[in-house]
Assembly symmetry: C2
Homo-oligomer: 417 residues x 2
């Protein structure tokens, strides 16, 4: 079979399907495999899968396990709420890990190599079509590849998505700057590198966390571009960055000089779609469900997609190795489309909440301060086991063992009769 796209989603899917005994060819448009960007957060719903792949120890060695995620108000710097990431790891059974995107990409690429995935570069797929018993992709070069099944993990600007819907990426008018603060800077010494900190402010937010053994600080600064709102093309420029954060607290503003000012990432998502499978062509990752980044689930969803697909391929494979693709793909679509739709819409809603101003900001802050640190009602659906194959996952929703019930009110709740 063929996987189109050598990003995190495509590599994860190729590895997962190889594990099921399938011969996989991966087509990547770029002349070499690689990944741009800086840090990436891997919630337990991703590290659970890395563990199943036998890759978690390596991922741990490349990343950092922060102690806490702390949300602060960007204007006055005050703490609003936090997640205890050590306790969260106990709850979900797997850690919350932060790594460089390039390190995760390299890890998956090496795993694909070991698994025998055929990795092909300089192969930009421009069109997809179903054949009788499979599907065919055509490259920009004019060459074609055919297989019994094609996974289109071709990203936000997917060429395959046009088979399903005539849509375009949706601009949020927000733009992200990234940067790292080197170890020798006083800012690094003065920061708790065990915390992932999110400063939420009016029309902006700022994130930092430690990377690579904790000796550097990864930073992300995100804001709404007035030029984007005004319909101008050259939006998100560094002058807008400075203006957007002018009203924030010292702890935020002192991080701005470390942002890379030569490159910025305009933030787009797409509206959810419910069908990802067309004959023997299926979308996966950002081609199916590109989200805004507010709950850090874009790459995680792509990794989940590949794992779920692999599991259902395993369930719908006959003794002779033949896969019932109709069944496996229908199961994949049924399990994943609704979940990813919720991630997309929830991400948008969190963005709105983070960026409130005025009285609404005050109300939000009061609500967040009232939240119990150990209330997991907003993470269970996301970080808990992915709905897929039975008999594999712990049931976190059953009562905790009574001798570990030190956590308080969140541990138990009333049932029915």
């Amino acid at each position: 079979m063929i996987v189109v796209g050598g990003g995190l989603g495509g590599l994860g899917a190729a590895f997962s399907l190889s594990r099921q005994g399938l011969a996989v060819r991966l087509l990547e448009s770029a002349p070499a495999f690689g990944e741009v960007g800086a840090g990436i957060q891997l919630a337990p719903n991703c590290t659970r899968i890395l563990d199943d792949y036998g890759l978690l120890d390596e991922a741990r060695s490349l990343g950092v396990l922060p102690d806490a995620m702390v949300m602060r108000d960007a204007v006055d710097g005050a703490e609003l709420t936090r997640l205890d990431l050590r306790h969260l790891e106990e709850r979900y059974g797997y850690p919350y890990l932060v790594v460089h995107r390039s390190d995760l990409h390299g890890l998956l690429l090496r795993a694909c190599g070991r698994a025998g995935v055929e990795l092909v570069n300089d192969a930009r797929v421009t069109s997809y079509e179903n054949t009788g018993g499979g599907a065919r992709v055509t490259l920009a070069s004019g060459a074609a590849h055919e297989a019994g099944m094609v996974i289109a993990a071709d990203g936000l600007h997917s060429a395959a998505r046009g088979l399903f819907v005539d849509d375009r990426p949706v601009s949020s008018a927000y733009v992200a700057y990234r940067g790292t603060v080197p170890a020798e800077q006083p800012r690094v010494r003065n920061t708790d590198l065990g915390e992932v900190v999110v400063y939420v402010g009016p029309h902006c937010h700022f994130v930092h966390y430690g990377l690579r053994g904790g000796e550097m600080l990864n930073q992300v600064a995100v804001f709404e571009s007035p030029k984007a709102l005004a319909g101008q093309d050259d939006w998100g420029t560094p002058d807008e960055l400075d203006a957007a954060f002018a009203g924030t607290c010292d702890a935020v503003r002192e991080g701005l000089p470390f942002m890379w000012r030569g490159k910025w990432w305009r933030m787009f998502d797409r509206n959810p779609i419910s069908r990802w499978v067309h004959g023997r062509i299926a979308l996966l990752g950002d081609s199916a469900h590109p989200p805004l980044q507010y709950i850090a689930q874009g790459a995680v969803m792509a990794v989940e997609d590949g794992w779920v697909l692999g599991e259902h391929v395993g369930l719908h494979r006959a003794g002779d190795g033949t896969v019932d693709w109709t069944a496996a793909l229908a199961a994949y679509e049924a399990v994943r489309a609704e979940h990813c739709r919720r991630v997309q819409t929830t991400s948008r809603a969190w963005g709105e909440l983070w960026h409130l101003d005025g009285l609404a900001r005050e109300q939000r802050n009061a609500l967040l301060r009232a939240r119990d640190t150990y209330d997991y009602s907003f993470t269970d659906w996301l970080y808990g086991p992915t709905a897929l194959t039975p008999d594999q996952e712990p049931d976190m929703f059953t009562p905790v063992p009574l001798d570990s019930a030190a956590v308080g009110g969140a541990a138990l709740a009333g049932g029915a009769a």
Copy 2:
């Protein structure tokens, strides 16, 4: 197509599939349609579906909307925790309704009649087999019925389940007595009929709630049978009932004289199974996933099964009306098997929690007392929208509108970046 079994699950499935334009024949073994039992609790994940079916108003008129579900200790009678069912309705968008099982059954039966379902009595199916393009069932009479698809909603003692697994019902050694207290009894006047009350005690529990406009009290008494534990066949007899509740508080013991002493229900479930689809034969309801009753989801799951199947039939139906059964059934199984497995294992775990004795009971009580009334972390996965077709359900996990945010800490939680 054919649905085998005229219980709540079979009727629900027949109605759902009729709505999708399919011609449905329903085969029921009994000479007339009916339902035994007393009250049944319909959580929002069921009333949501009744609403989608256009049947919720009728169900409301037949049932009661209690104000609260209260858990109390059966020994000392003290309150342990509660659900505010009015607020719960706001959270999930649909009410928590209690009705007579027979009223719900009648409602679904009438809906099937109006939808044109062919209802056949005296048709006891004894065997199932796949044919080339569909499936065939054979009756005890020797007659056979064939269709493109057969749904086996044939209950705890399903004949179809043997196609999937060689298992038997698992005895919990618990037995239930039911009864109703008539309106003229002082007990009814002295009870808050707006509450569903669960008294949890050592090796026993007791439930009561108002039914039919609140003018009668429905009661359920459940206990572990010493004779069952000793391996005796005649277990669960009324003498065991009296002994089991001897140590409970007055409020419980005063209800015992109203239990029907001539009939009792031994409580069985089965171990979860992951495959429910075999060619063109699919399990549904108790044939697939009979649970213990502790979280009141047995009939609710069966109704959900039918709805989910109908939705996926709709998604995998071609323009000419042909259903891609391979895809629809794979999607149904992928969505439902994992959810129902969790309900089954969670039900068992709740039963253990309810029936604790000694120090473990004290620890449980302390935990339950510490729970916030508005902590929904243990009901969201159950009462929230069923994972199935996209773009239909509200996203309860997104932040609440700030002007309705009076609920406190449970309303919001930290995200990621």
